[in-house]
Symmetry: C2
Subunit: 420 residues, 2 copies
Amino acid sequence: MPVKNAFYAQSGGVTAVINATACGLIEAARKHKNRIGKVYAGRDGIIGALTEDLIDTSKESPAAIKALRYTPAGAFGSCRYKLKGLEENRAQYERLIAVFKAHNIGYFFYNGGNDSADTAYKVSQISEKLGYPVICVGVPKTVDNDLAVTDCCPGFGSVAKYVATSIREAGFDVASMARTSTKVFVLEVMGRHAGWITAACGLAAEKAGDAPQVLLFPEIAFDQEKFLARVDAVVKQYGYCAIGVSEGIRNADGKFLSESGLKDAFGHAQLGGVAPQIASLIKDKLGYKYHWAVADYLQRSARHIASKTDVEQAYAVGKTAVELAIKGRNAVMAVIVRKSNKPYKWTVEAADLKDIANKEKMMPREFISADGFHITAKCRQYLAPLIAGEDYPPYRNGLPAYVKLKNIAVRKKLAAGFKV
Amino acid sequence: MPVKNAFYAQSGGVTAVINATACGLIEAARKHKNRIGKVYAGRDGIIGALTEDLIDTSKESPAAIKALRYTPAGAFGSCRYKLKGLEENRAQYERLIAVFKAHNIGYFFYNGGNDSADTAYKVSQISEKLGYPVICVGVPKTVDNDLAVTDCCPGFGSVAKYVATSIREAGFDVASMARTSTKVFVLEVMGRHAGWITAACGLAAEKAGDAPQVLLFPEIAFDQEKFLARVDAVVKQYGYCAIGVSEGIRNADGKFLSESGLKDAFGHAQLGGVAPQIASLIKDKLGYKYHWAVADYLQRSARHIASKTDVEQAYAVGKTAVELAIKGRNAVMAVIVRKSNKPYKWTVEAADLKDIANKEKMMPREFISADGFHITAKCRQYLAPLIAGEDYPPYRNGLPAYVKLKNIAVRKKLAAGFKV
């Protein structure tokens, strides 16, 4: 088979380990030079392909590529840009194929969530029709852990480890202060639709009374009375209460709490997240002094406390994606398959993109305790291996020594530009 | 000299390394059994002394005490409880002495900030007058780094490492997303009066363009126009902007921005911190999409990313406090003295409590750049060694394995209680 170049793009919200996937993919491609020429990365994701703004990763040293394994966020830039349907905007797909053709690209690796799986699937279909077949392989990534088919998603395990560690630490803090000061601590975490990250907070509670004592999932309608009664009972029993709350919790009418009508002095919708609302509610109704934190990007970029399992899986899906591509596997994603829990064993296998595209994997109800405020043993069994092991980055001057790539552009070959 | 027991209490907001100080102190005391009998810890700080609620640390195994070195927060409980002036409430001081006398306590170690230094100083004065002399030694602790005399404060270096690491990581994240999504990220950090923690964020910016590009100090009056112009210029030059902001920034009229009149729908003062306000201001005036985080307790309890220097200093002040006490040094604090910058060398020495009590060490103006938005080379030189080195806790099940002590109470000897 002739040597073709590869195109790789990072898509959507970045994670602590998406660059580990890039590392696995580029290192694997470099080992198969008889099949894959250069790996071109899209500058700012798929936009880089549409605008013919390609980064030549062959200009990066082996050391720089190796450093991607421990560097958070998207080294080539990512984007929130969903390709429209084939009928709606065929021009986008035709442009992709034109760029691929111009740069002799025969492999398309798309590293993202369910939207990206959909795009990769569509590209695989249309490239054939347009007479320039491209092998399209999806590579999973999302902190939300909501991709179908794959047992878990690279990026999630590290967020899970971060939030569980953080709420354990803050729980120790509040417990110290509770006698005369803060009695309630609220940590807001990501996961607007699925409560996987909220559930991960629960891993810190290994014994009765451990923080967090209460979790608020997006899957469970927020019941103010029941919640306040629980918090009050916890404070009375243990002296304090630590709460993990999803940014996406909703009232019984399905409305996000974070959009529940709080306004600032100028009539703008409230600025804050849901943590300050929950904290303020507790102060109003129960009188307890509170503190709250919103981890936001800190949680998904916290490479300094990445899960070793997560890093290994992120690397492995990148590597396997290349191996699948050179075997000619088209329209598949490299997914993680759990072989056993104890000891935890997993492999990376191919799954059809069409089974993953545009699907969302919610938390099973059986992973949430009957009262809705914590996780079950079954959930713990699923989550525990995903945060196992530490994989520290190197430090320089007391700080993680992350790499910034040169990101040298490939010379454009097409006369026409493309407006995104 | 006869063997006397010691009393140790943790005071005020806890830190990632105050237990490392407790560890140093208890291990040192155990090595001097010919001089110090038992170390009693106050349950919930000085309240434990007033209420005769003492914890017998001799009931804890050497392994448990050793584990304090890597366990965040206050293992015996802390409190926000300032003793009144001697004239105002002499009864409190007399009660302390009565409890000390009842339990044969000849050493008083108070681990806290400038309030605690004041209390320890007062106790040293009155104990003499009341005919029961107690050797009082202050042990420094505060994430705010605002104690006088000591070069730095145990607890600060670890917060500094946490915030610098976090804003570097979030900066990488925003840089990835900026093309189509978030362009501005705001991290709110502690330090209501002094900008030391805000300054520490600046350590992450080692080269031009590195995050954070803008810092907002409590020492510099907030100038909205100048700030917005700077943020806009940074976004235009680098594509994104990461901002570290102190919870305590004020307007030109000296009013905290966080109290600047934002109200929720019910007319309550706004719930959030200053980060969402700053972020919203940027959105309103510049139109940039934002994300914000409030680290709150996460920053001061983040033992998982403690500074090795900080842990060593925290341990050393505890150990030295004991050594000073058995030398009969009264009314002193074990302070950190910087001997040289490169290589960084430090020792722990005694300083008079009266020179530390109730004083607050602000950031020198020369540590803040002329435009007020960043740190100077001089500041960097001061801060850099304080975040040097890593000192990871052990992990179990993917999470830091912190210790919870048994905290067994000493049998009470006094008939009377005491209302706090």
